[in-house]
Every structure is written in structure tokens, then in C-alpha cells.
């Protein structure tokens, strides 16, 4: 079968990093449970975005049949199949709910009318049940889609493509609903008083963007070797770049309108969330974040040549990919009194590196389990044709 030399290298780095990171996190857990919980949630979220985003992209691809997706189908599937593993890594969060979610505290419930009002939704039992529902939805979708397409490799049946579409159409609907409410449960309820109805949409766009940045980097490396060599062409890289560009704009747009509406309304019930992000060094952090996550990628992805040269594209995408951790931090950390000032806790690094190492190692393993090029009936010609031609 195909050679996976670069994946081997990735694995040899990822595994030790993962093990060390996880061990350090475990040590952190024994030292300071609260700090561990916040760091773990941030590290986990960053990598979970890739798994969740991949599943979303996979369904978008099946529904729209773009060529950009054909070459990424297998990486998407491999990432989406890490769903059970990622959900398992969420268990420490479940054990840390008291550290993370104020609405689990008896004395808060007793004195807070607003939280009392929300109790039918914000209660641990509901939280667990919903977590189970999301887990089932995403896991079933990820495996149904990837198993089906792997089976299609064997028989090359066009009918499979139709089935993939039939699953993806309602699939993306319930996927989005689950992601929306998951974002409310896991992140919005960190501030039980705060609410914003665009939150779920921002969450999904963040995941999609992070995934596409990752895939742009990955594709550059895959394109160096068989079987992707010659299949991922300049046009595909241009498409990845355009997706990154479009999602960067979309992400900025959604965040900006949320900010603008809350800023203009100027009601304390909403503004306090931004106020926390405007003091204790967080205002500078916000500025750096908007530069790194909007201005820099916007101007870099604007130019055609940056998108058509896979090496340039991959370098840009890698930088922005790493920088996007800033958003996760911005979204979660300022909520907690002990992180009201910008401070990078050593456990942040331990968690994101530990989970990341593990994720990449599992991903590289998963990627080997199926042929890198799917036997998708829509693109048989394409997979052969362009290789022979250019």
C-alpha cells in the first residue's frame, strides 16, 4: 500500500509529547483541581474542534461534491472517527463540573434568581443526558459516513454516494443542533447569566475554520507523496486557501456583529461578559487576538499567490492554526476569578500538548487504516485524469 513516511515521523513526535503532556496534566490535577479543570477544558476544546469540524466538513462535502473535498475526504473521516476518543477525554470535565460551572453550586442557586430560572436546563442530570445525546449523534454520524465510504472503496458503487448524501442532509441538521446546544452547555453556561443567540453559530464556524487550517497544512505534506502526489493540485490548494479566507471573514463577521449588538444595546446583562475581557490585560489580549485571527490571515489569504503555492499556504495556515488557540483561551479563561488577569498557566500547555499529541497520534494511525484516496464514484476520472495530464 501507500507509503506513510511523513505520518511515521508525526507519530514518533506526537506520542511522547502526548504522554508527557498527559502525565503533567495528571500531576496538575493532584495539585490544583480548579486550575486543571480550566486548562483541560481549553486544551480539549482546541482539539475537539478538529474532530467536530471534520465531521461537519465531511457532510458539507457529501452534499456539495466539491473537488476540494475529494482529496480531504479520508483525513476528514479519520479525524471524525476520533469522536469516541475525544468524548472519552471529556470525562475529566464531567468530574470537574464543580470547578467549572457556577450553576452547580448550592449557595449560588439559593441566592440567584436568574440561575433558579434556568435550573430546568442548567442542572447536572440534564448536562449528562445531553452530553450522551450529542455523543450518540456525532459518533453514529462519523462512523456511518466513514464506514459507508470505506465499503464503497471495495465495490465502487455509485449508489453509495447517493446514500452518503441521504445521510448527510438530515445529518448536518441534527449535527448543527447538537453542536449549538453543546456550545451552550459547555461554554456559554460557564457564565450562567450571560446569553447570546449567535453563540452556537460562532462555535461551529470556529471549528470549521480550525479544521480547514489544519487540513491545508496536512494536504501540503500529503501532496509530496503517493497517492496524493499530482492529485492535490494548485487548484485544490487555492480552494483550501479560499475556504480559510472565507471562514476567517465569516468568523470575524459573527463575532463582530455579536459585539456590536451588545455594545450598542449597552445592557449590563450582556456587557459584563465583554467587560471581563476588557480588563486585567485581556484588552491587549483581545487586540492581539483580532490581529492574529483577522487582520493577519485576511491580508495573507487575500492574495492569490499565497493560496496557490502549497508551501506558502501551509506555512500561513500553520501559524494561524496555532494562533487560534488564543480564541479558545479568550472564550473560556476570563470567566474565572483566578484568571481575571492574563496569565498563562503551565497546565494550559500541558493539556493542549498532551491532548494534541494523543490526537495526532490517533489521527495518524487512523489515516493509515483506509486508502488515502477514496473510491468515490464522482471523482474516479479526476483521480486518474489530472495525474496523467499535468
Amino acid at each position: 500500500m501507500e507509503s506513510h513516511v511523513d505520518l511515521k515521523k508525526l507519530k514518533s513526535i506526537a506520542l511522547p509529547v502526548g504522554v508527557i503532556g498527559l502525565a503533567a496534566s495528571a500531576y496538575g490535577y493532584t495539585q490544583n483541581h480548579d486550575a486543571f479543570a480550566v486548562s483541560w477544558l481549553m486544551g480539549w476544546t482546541f482539539w475537539f474542534f478538529l474532530t467536530l469540524g471534520s465531521l461537519g466538513w465531511l457532510m458539507i462535502y457529501h452534499l456539495t461534491s466539491g473537488r476540494w473535498g475529494f482529496v480531504l475526504q479520508r483525513p476528514f473521516e479519520a479525524a471524525a472517527r476520533l469522536m469516541p476518543a475525544m468524548l472519552l477525554l471529556f470525562v475529566p470535565v464531567l468530574f470537574s463540573m464543580h470547578s467549572l460551572y457556577e450553576w452547580t453550586h448550592e449557595h449560588v442557586i439559593a441566592h440567584d434568581e436568574l440561575v433558579q430560572h434556568k435550573l430546568p436546563y442548567l442542572n447536572p442530570t440534564g448536562f449528562y443526558i445531553r452530553f450522551g445525546v450529542y455523543a450518540v449523534i456525532w459518533t453514529v454520524l462519523a462512523f456511518a459516513l466513514s464506514n459507508l465510504s470505506r465499503r464503497a472503496d471495495a465495490n465502487g458503487n455509485p449508489e453509495t454516494v447517493r446514500k452518503l448524501r441521504v445521510i448527510s442532509a438530515p445529518g448536518i441538521l441534527i449535527y448543527s443542533l447538537a453542536a449549538t446546544f453543546a456550545s451552550f452547555d459547555w461554554y456559554m453556561s460557564l457564565e450562567p447569566h450571560w446569553f447570546s443567540s449567535i453563540y452556537g453559530a460562532i462555535f461551529m464556524v470556529s471549528g470549521g475554520l480550525l479544521t480547514m487550517l489544519f487540513m491545508a497544512v496536512l494536504a501540503h505534506h500529503l501532496a509530496q507523496r503517493e497517492p496524493m502526489k499530482g492529485v492535490i493540485t494548485t487548484q485544490q490548494f487555492h480552494d483550501f486557501g479560499n475556504w480559510c479566507f472565507a471562514f476567517t471573514i465569516l468568523w470575524t463577521y459573527m463575532n463582530f456583529v455579536q459585539f456590536l449588538i451588545i455594545w450598542s444595546g449597552n445592557l449590563y446583562e450582556e456587557t459584563f461578559w465583554y467587560m471581563k475581557r476588557a480588563k486585567g490585560g485581556w484588552i491587549e489580549f483581545s487586540a492581539v487576538m483580532s490581529i492574529m485571527l483577522f487582520f493577519v490571515p485576511f491580508f495573507l489569504f487575500l492574495f492569490r499567490n499565497n493560496k496557490r503555492n502549497s508551501k506558502v499556504l501551509a506555512s500561513i495556515a500553520l501559524v494561524i492554526f496555532v494562533a487560534r488557540y488564543l480564541e479558545v483561551q479568550w472564550m473560556i479563561a476570563p470567566t474565572f476569578a483566578f484568571r481575571a488577569d492574563v496569565a498563562f498557566h503551565w497546565m494550559d500547555l500541558a493539556a493542549v500538548a498532551g491532548i494534541g499529541g494523543l490526537w495526532l497520534w490517533l489521527f495518524a494511525n487512523g489515516l493509515k487504516k483506509a486508502p488515502l484516496l477514496s473510491g468515490d464514484a464522482r471523482f474516479v476520472e479526476f483521480a486518474k485524469g489530472d495525474k496523467a495530464g499535468h
Binding site: P158, I198, Y253, M254
Partner: protein, 462 residues
């Protein structure tokens, strides 16, 4: 060839019909499309629509006349519902005006082949819908002849627009949108005007189309710049479309009125606009393709694709409704909660449930391929969606305003006969302009259809 589209038909499962009948030649497609503007007659049905539109146009003139003479007091607006039909219809028309640029721009960027035969149609519709939309805020000022005060210009009062107001953003957004859509449309028309110039028989037609064509002669140098400009315009129009309806959404959302101050408004307004815009494309395209025998250019494939976009955007709109309901409760804001309850069970309960029915429930039949490929069902469905989207604006505006914080200032809203005359009148204006466009312009982009045909016939010659 379009690298982003699947090689259709080959595998026999993807497409229902090709997007273009490949038995055509460049000459036959050009003949077919240019026959409509170059012939001296119009089908009776179109003439009938034109005549009916002319009558409605009369009602518009009357409504405007009385408005200018009497002032906005003749409308149904008053405290507490200070925005009524004027803004409902403004948003409705602007929403309809979104499909054009969207089809043209986004689908061009996504290299979707099915864009080609409907883009001109949709762009034309956009221009006219935006004109109808613009009338409302213009007339709502009460003194339309002073509308230039809305723009920043040096004046002896040294007064400038209040840039913190979303209504001023709207002035910029809508006028930019109108200008850019017009430029995009005219740019697309120039090569087609050249075709008509070269084919027209009469002297007047020749000179008229000749002036419009500006001397286009299909030079390779010109085409090169033309294609760059066209693609860049598409790239610019896409965020523009999104911004315009977002700003319309912000007109409401930056206030603190319960039911308006919702952060999801901008994207959900955009989805709604696309939803209604595509519905209007169907409402117009289905009869036109039947009357002029354009079924080989606007194929079932087009209808299927439009339906899919409508299904997707309709679900996004429905998601928006869902978020509104959830947050009315979750926000624990009693005004928000009351507003939602009042919307559902207050005096205007019928409008809310009719909206859910028209926009949320009935469009779910689009899940079935049978529906997506049945022009008759789609035609009626598109009208239902147009009604539903109108109701959406009615619900957002009237039910949010008529019972707000102070029960002492509660009231009801009903349009007057002038409101209704004006609304029907703008529909008349829109249809009348569409009939004129069908008569004088190539309603399908000729050079793009030729280009698509060439692509399809030379698939392997690449």
C-alpha cells in the same frame, strides 16, 4: 472546465437533467435568447401581466401623491407601532433583492454551472426589488425631496449623519448595494448588448443597443480584463450581500426592544433574505421558462438546485426562530419572555403561527425530489414562502412594538388603504419593470451560456 463540479451524467446518478442541452450550438442558443428582445411582439400572457402591472402602478402613483400632499399621517403607523408597512415592505423587498447578486456572485465563485442561465434574471430582479425597497424609507421620511440630507455633504448647518445609527449604515449599505448590483448587471450585459447590436434589424434598435454596448467587440485583451473585473465584482458582492441584510438586521438588533435585541439577527436575516430571494426567482422563472420555451436552458436541474438552496436557508431561518424562542426563556429576561409569549398567544397570534406554517413547516416538502422537480408545486410553494417571509417581517416589527415595557403605551397596528395601495403599487412597479426587461434585454446571459456550452462540448479538449 469547471474543476469544482462533478462530472455529471457520466455515472448516471448525480444529475436529473444536464444544466444545458448540449445539442445546441453557439448560434442556436444566441438565436433563441436574442429572439425575445429582438422580436416586435410579446406573448399575450406577458402583455396581460404588463397591463395589470400598469394598473397597480397607478395605485402606487396615487398612494405617493396623497402621501406627499397629506404626509405620513395617512399611513397606519402611530405610537407605539411607529414602523409598520413601510419597514416591513422595505425589508421584504430588500430580501428579495438578495438572490440576484447571490446567485451571480457566490455561485460564480463556487463555479456552479447551474448559475449561468438564471443569473441575469436574478440580477434584473435584484435591481428592481431594490428600487421598490428604496421607495419605502424614502417616502417614510415624509419629505422625500430632502432625502439627500441622509448623505454626508458640506452644508450651511454643518450637520452630518449620525454615524452611530444603524439607519445611516442602511443608507450607505442599500445605496452601495444598489450601485454595485447595477454595475455588476450592466457589466454582464455589455457583451450581450453587442450581440443584440450585431443582430438587430431596425436602425433605432441597432443604435440603441450599440450605445449600450459601448463598442464591445470581443477583443481578447478586453475579455481578459473583463473576466478579472467580473470575478472581482463577484468577490466583492458576496460579502456585500451579507453586509446589507446584516445591517438591515442591525436596524433592529442594536436597539433594546425585546424581540429585536437578538445577536443572531444579522446572519438569520441574511439566510431569510436568500430564502425569499430564491423563492421570488422561482415565482418568476417558472412561468417565464414555460412561456418562452426555455426549458432546455432553465432545466429541472436548476429548479432542483434552487430548491435545495431554499431548503437549506429555510432551515437556517427556522434555526433562528428556534434560538429566539430558546433565548426568550434562557435569558431569564421577563420582557423578552413576555414578548415571545405575546407573539405566540397575543392578539397577533395568527401571524406568528402562519409564519411558522409558511416558512417552517410547508417548505419541508422540499426534502422530496418529486417536489423539487415539479414546476407547478414549486411555483405555489415559492408564493407561500414569499408570503411567509413577509409575515416574518410583520411579526418581528409589529408584535415587538405593540406591547413593550409600559402597558400604558400598548396599542394595535393595522395598515390603512394607503399602505395597501402602496404595497400593491410596488408589486406593480416591480412586475412592470420586469416586463420591460423581458422585452428589451436578453433575459438569459448569452455569452455565459455560449461559454458554458463550449465548456461542455470541449470537456476533453482541455
Amino acid at each position: 472546465m469547471a474543476p469544482n463540479s462533478p462530472p455529471d451524467q457520466k455515472q448516471g446518478f448525480v444529475e436529473i437533467e444536464p444544466v444545458l442541452d448540449t445539442h445546441h450550438t453557439m448560434e442556436t442558443v444566441t438565436d433563441k435568447i436574442s429572439a425575445i428582445p429582438l422580436s416586435n411582439t410579446l406573448p399575450r400572457s406577458i402583455l396581460g401581466v404588463g397591463f395589470a402591472a400598469l394598473l397597480l402602478l397607478g395605485s402606487l402613483m396615487g398612494a405617493i401623491f396623497f402621501l406627499v400632499v397629506e404626509g405620513t399621517g395617512i399611513w397606519g403607523i402611530n405610537q407605539p407601532v411607529g414602523w409598520g408597512f413601510d419597514i416591513i415592505n422595505f425589508v421584504w423587498w430588500i430580501g428579495i433583492g438578495h438572490a440576484g447578486t447571490l446567485i451571480s456572485a457566490i455561485l460564480l465563485l463556487l463555479r456552479q454551472e447551474w448559475r449561468t442561465s438564471i443569473n441575469r434574471f436574478a440580477e434584473t430582479m435584484t435591481i428592481f426589488a431594490v428600487m421598490c425597497a428604496g421607495l419605502y424609507p424614502l417616502l417614510h421620511t415624509g419629505r422625500p425631496w430632502l432625502a439627500y440630507w441622509l448623505f454626508p455633504y458640506p452644508n450651511v448647518m454643518e450637520m452630518w449623519p449620525q454615524f452611530r445609527s444603524p439607519l445611516v449604515w442602511d443608507v450607505f449599505a442599500v445605496s452601495t448595494y444598489a450601485t454595485v448590483s447595477l454595475l455588476f448587471w450592466l457589466t454582464g450585459l455589455v457583451p450581450d448588448f453587442a450581440t443584440l447590436r450585431d443582430r438587430a434589424k431596425g436602425k433605432i434598435a441597432k443604435v440603441g443597443y450599440g450605445i449600450a454596448a459601448m463598442g464591445w467587440r470581443g477583443s481578447a485583451r478586453h475579455w481578459q480584463r473583463y473576466e478579472i473585473a467580473y470575478l472581482l465584482l463577484a468577490g466583492l458582492s458576496t460579502p456585500l450581500v451579507v453586509s446589507v441584510h446584516s445591517i438591515v438586521g442591525l436596524d433592529f438588533a442594536v436597539s433594546v426592544i425585546p424581540g429585536w435585541h437578538v445577536t443572531i439577527f444579522p446572519p438569520y436575516f441574511v439566510a431569510g433574505a436568500i430564502f425569499s430571494g430564491f423563492a421570488m426567482v422561482l415565482t418568476l422563472a417558472i412561468p417565464v421558462r414555460a412561456i418562452f420555451g426555455l426549458k432546455d436552458m432553465i432545466t429541472l436541474n436548476h429548479l432542483d438546485n434552487i430548491s435545495k438552496v431554499m431548503l437549506a436557508t429555510g432551515l437556517m431561518v427556522f434555526y433562528g426562530y428556534g434560538m429566539e424562542v430558546f433565548f426568550a426563556w434562557y435569558s431569564a429576561n421577563e420582557y423578552e419572555g413576555f414578548m415571545k409569549f405575546n407573539r405566540m398567544f397575543g392578539p397577533y397570534w395568527w401571524s406568528y403561527w402562519a409564519l411558522i406554517l409558511c416558512n417552517g413547516i410547508i417548505p419541508q416538502i422540499l426534502w422530496f425530489k418529486k417536489v423539487r422537480t415539479s414546476p407547478i408545486i414549486l411555483f405555489f410553494l415559492s408564493i407561500i414562502i414569499n408570503i411567509g417571509m413577509w409575515l416574518e417581517r410583520f411579526v418581528i416589527i409589529v408584535t415587538s412594538l405593540h406591547r413593550d415595557f409600559l402597558p400604558s403605551s400598548w396599542g394595535m397596528y393595522a395598515p390603512t388603504k394607503f399602505d395597501i395601495a402602496m404595497y400593491l403599487g410596488t408589486i406593480g412597479l416591480f412586475l412592470f419593470l420586469m416586463v420591460l426587461a423581458i422585452k428589451f434585454l436578453p433575459i438569459i446571459s448569452q455569452f455565459e451560456v455560449r461559454e458554458l456550452l463550449h465548456k461542455k462540448q470541449h470537456k476533453n479538449g482541455h
